[in-house]
Amino acid sequence: MSEQQGASQFHSVHLHEDMCKGCTICVTGCPAEAIRVRNGKAHILEERCIDCGECIRHCPNKAKYSLTADLDDLKPYSLRAALITPSIYGQFNVHYSKQQIHDAFKLLGFTDVYDVSEDALKISRATSYLLSHGKNLPKPLISSSCPTVIKLIEVRFPSLLDNILPLLPPVELTARRARRELEAKSGPSEKVGVFLISPCSAKITVARSPVGYDFTDMDGAFSFATLYLPLITELRKMRSDEKKDVSDIAEELKALNIGAAAPEVSDWYTDAPDGLAWGRESGESEYAAHFLDHPEKFNWITSCGIQQVIETLESIEDGQLGAYDFVELDACPGGCINGPLLIKTSSEGLAVMRNRLRNRRVQAADFAARELPEKERPRSAEEAQNKSSPGRKGDRELAATLAAEDASQDRADAASPMLTDLIDEPAPDIAALSFTRQITPRPARLLSDDFATARKMMQNMEDIVEQLPGLDCGSCGAPNCRALAEDIVRHQATLEDCVTIMKSRYEELLFGNNHTTGGGNGTGGTH
């Protein structure tokens, strides 16, 4: 993987320099304020980037892209596994069966195809086990499945590292399963390559730089976007080659305007994968609820989309969501089905997923609410998002929250818990899913290690903010005036990078002091 050598440990987002116009749309849209336009090109501040892919999504010039493996990278391996995340299944119309999708991957050069959904269910089972058997559980536990969320916590919410669920992400579980199985059947000289098919840049990064565990069994990761065309080509060929089935007939009839009834979905698709709903908002929580003995007592929240995730994390940090057991956070709106490297819109991805799930005996969406009286149903995402009920509940719940808070404050400052902090003797199958190292803060916001220096810098920043116009126009290449002030005290920018200040300096030079416009309100000089 030539391109991935020397790649950042923090992110997989790269820039086609020639396509970047230096427009600052990515700068002002970056939730981590991690991009600056310098010398006319957008640069990422490594240590601040949380790999959310918002810049890939929003760049009008398509100059941002994710690192990806390419099919040539498969060549050194005699056994080549493709790991398919649940969200990927939503990218193909429901009339393509799971088997056909897997076959299409094989036609591209993979020898074996693994469905991540199955391993996602193992994580759900472990989560529910921990929820019912854990001790001093932080409230709420924060799902660790979205790498961008973990990075956001490292950078911006270090006090919430305490709350991270110390379980491996499903993709890593699948990678380990794939390697184990393929190595067992491979010959001595055969090499096994394990590749993730990823909906986002964040998962591409964890395929080389794991967070919370020491090694990864992945050899690389493909951006789904780069494989879509060859895959859909293979699938279409398959469909035109195969024997006519009920759906083909129906389509032909429809084309002839004979108007036959559409076939049942079950006729089109009979092998819906389990765990598939992990790919969409709330799926992870619903499966965790499914495995609980008392799902009616399980109190969970889902937040999707990076801004909403940030609001929820702020709220947890302010001590407002302690009545909840579990928080599922997905950086992408709607969940992984809206990953920045996917092709279909999240709405269509969701519809396809719904259709694929429809055929199952028990619908995933019904897991959480199954057989419960209306009023005892676990709180839905809608309710959690409703700002007018901020989750401040009765005394008893609060007392439990306070106890959990105290317990979490007793632990070492600012590091995620290990599984053994949360459960006395985890069963072996649960322990195997555990994180193996703590996640620690990434102090990207820190001005200086020395408190006195940091204070001085902050004071300078305030003085500089006073001089800046406060327009947050982004023309200087920083996302807002305050960020420019911070860049200046960090010696990464100068006051003259501000166009408004520059303009008044020019006017001073051209017309003398009497004609200046002062602090830069941009009204232009008098003549």
Partner: protein, 139 residues
């Protein structure tokens, strides 16, 4: 280093903005995570109290060498019996506020719990001034 904020009394959605800004500043200064967390909770609760009971007010936060001093001052109804108000579960919040999920009577106890020193100065009909101090050295 002192920062002053106006806490809006009528816009509930803005409650918490002052404590969020302070949280960011404390991170930039590199203060221990536990200190940031306690400050955030203490200040957030105080902000909410101001919105629910006193139609807003003023917050000032002084970040010093060894402690953070938070002063929250309002011209609300005042607290007739501070000792009673400090009891967990005691609340005078309106039915309206309770409908919104507030008024569990944990605000003041929570503020006290998360600060190293707290003093309430209140006169009925005049207003309330709450002073909280949080040590910046990790304990």
């Amino acid at each position: 280093m002192t920062y002053a904020y106006d806490v809006s009394g009528d816009d509930f959605s803005k409650a918490g903005t002052a404590s969020q800004d302070i949280k960011k500043k404390l991170q930039q200064l590199g203060l221990p995570v536990a200190v940031i967390k306690r400050t955030a909770i203490a200040m957030f609760e105080a902000e909410i109290n101001m919105v629910i009971h006193a139609h807003g007010g003023k917050a000032s936060v002084d970040i010093g060498e060894d402690k953070i001093i938070i002063v929250m001052e309002d011209h609300g109804p005042g607290i007739p019996d501070i000792e009673l108000a400090m009891q967990p579960g005691y609340s005078t919040a309106s039915a309206e506020a309770r409908d919104l999920g507030w008024g569990a009577g944990m605000g003041l106890p929570n503020m006290k719990r998360n600060s190293d020193f707290m003093h309430i100065d209140s006169t009925v009909g005049v207003g309330t001034k709450v002073t909280m101090e949080i040590k910046t050295q990790d304990v």
